[in-house]
């Protein structure tokens, strides 16, 4: 599904960042943003399940089933009626519920505040972690040098 609506693109990016965020880190950032989860009704209690991860033969060919990963999902409704969805990697129900609440709050007009207080730090930390590995990988890059052979000298 390709997405062009900017509001949807923003929500998509937000939910992707939240799904991959370390649960404890998100909990800490949310606690700093709002002392407790706001009142909400749980539409779908946190449910642990799996998603079948697919690969492609040769990296670009026919899809095949690589194996499953654990995912937890949850849906909530705020008193205003706004519904939020949380899908996260792993088996942490509180994490999924927190994401669902954040998703709903963002649709209720708190998107830019939450972006600044929660999403941007998570994204920066994810980028930093990724760059840390990339820099270590770069240090293991082989620099070839060619030995000059006697007859060429």
């Amino acid at each position: 599904m390709s997405v062009t609506d900017p509001a949807i693109t923003a929500r998509q990016a937000r939910l992707s960042t939240l799904a991959k965020a370390p649960a404890a880190r998100l909990a800490a950032l949310f606690a700093a943003y709002a002392t407790a989860l706001p009142a909400h009704e749980v539409l779908r209690a946190p449910e642990i399940g799996t998603v079948m991860v697919k690969g492609r033969a040769g990296g670009s060919g026919a899809p095949f089933n690589l194996g499953e990963m654990t995912v937890t999902r949850c849906a909530v409704r705020l008193p205003s009626g706004v519904v939020g969805h949380g899908h996260v990697q792993g088996r942490d129900g509180d994490h999924a519920r927190r994401v669902a609440v954040i998703d709903a709050l963002c649709q209720e007009g708190q998107a830019s505040a939450i972006e600044a207080a929660i999403i941007a730090p998570l994204r920066a930390e994810a980028v930093a972690a990724r760059e840390g590995r990339a820099r270590r990988a770069a240090a293991t890059k082989v620099e070839f040098f060619t030995m000059v052979r006697g007859e060429d000298a």
């Binding site: 599904m1 997405v3 949807i8 929500r11 998509q12 939910l15 992707s16 799904a19 991959k20 449910e47 642990i48 399940g49 799996t50 998603v51 079948m52 991860v53 697919k54 690969g55 492609r56 033969a57 040769g58 990296g59 670009s60 060919g61 026919a62 899809p63 095949f64 089933n65 690589l66 194996g67 499953e68 990963m69 654990t70 995912v71 999902r73 849906a75 969805h85 899908h87 996260v88 990697q89 792993g90 088996r91 990724r130 760059e131 840390g132 590995r133 990339a134 820099r135 270590r136 990988a137 770069a138 240090a139 293991t140 890059k141 082989v142 070839f144």
Partner: protein, 363 residues
Amino acid sequence: MYVAVKGGERAIDNAHAWLAEERRGDLGVAEMSIAQIREQLALAVARVMAEGSLYDPDLAALAIKQARGDLIEAVFLIRAYRTTLPRFGASLPVETDKMACDRRISATFKDLPGGQILGPTFDYTHRLLDFALAAEGLAPAPAPQAAAAPDRLPHVTDFLAREDLIQPEADGSATPRDLTREPLDFPADRPLRLQALTRGDEGFVLSMAYSTQRGYGRNHPFVGELRIGRVDVEMDIPELGFAIELGEVVLTECETVNQFMGSKTEPPQFTRGYGLVFGQSERKAISMALVDRAMRWEELGEDNVGAPAQDQEFVLYHSDNVQATGFLEHIKLPHYVDFQSELELIRRLRAEAAASQTQEAAE
């Protein structure tokens, strides 16, 4: 034949209590945490995730702890747990060309764009025991860092594909057959074979691959590329109406480039074998690619030389270590009635033989 036997409950309970005690070992030694196993036995965790067919490092670490380090038992525990979970759906195929690579090497092109990146490898170590590790509490020196390479490393096979020198990959069904949902059925198409290989026993797949190298269905592989790193897992979420990145998994991918002289149906070109495995597991990924290539003999119009690795039924029926160990180990369970009947048969045959000998002697 199995017969219901009563009794033994107390013996079983006591055996399990003793198992728990043995699992813990000497109480004077600190207990291992799940996090320690996840962080410090990461390659064992990777193997249990790959063969257990479930990506969840904490669960795999728990299974390893519960199984006292018996990795096949741990795989069994993971498979059993997996069956209790609902499946929410399937991801979009992961895009390994966007992998954030820890390691990326090619045995075919020295100067490939992006370079040869060794990553945290055992290669080039001297395989001498490091007694410094026996002394605990020593933090390793921080690994050196350098300016990061471009974010996206192209696949080596793309270079060959651009010159049309390698067989293109055919597209396939968006919903591949799934051997966890339907019984294995032959002929198995390539997606089904790849699923079986990626969750197959590492030792079995390694031995099959090795047999092709030793001449039983030789297929002249070069490791075109081996990469290890993180990829995003993206899935369409029906409630949302769009796809999100649900998580990130570490994968090892191996693409072999195989010499191919052409056949009745195919022109001379390079062909491919493919390995893709959960976690850091390059022995398994390379093995998978070799066995994948060996099983492709029919579509490439090659001869079946009768090599075990070319026989998809043989490979797929014997690659699963949970199935194999289940059938193998069941023979240690009570077979008293079977054995009683065998015993009676042998006694009767003995008696008959003795009787006929006595009769012959008398005549």
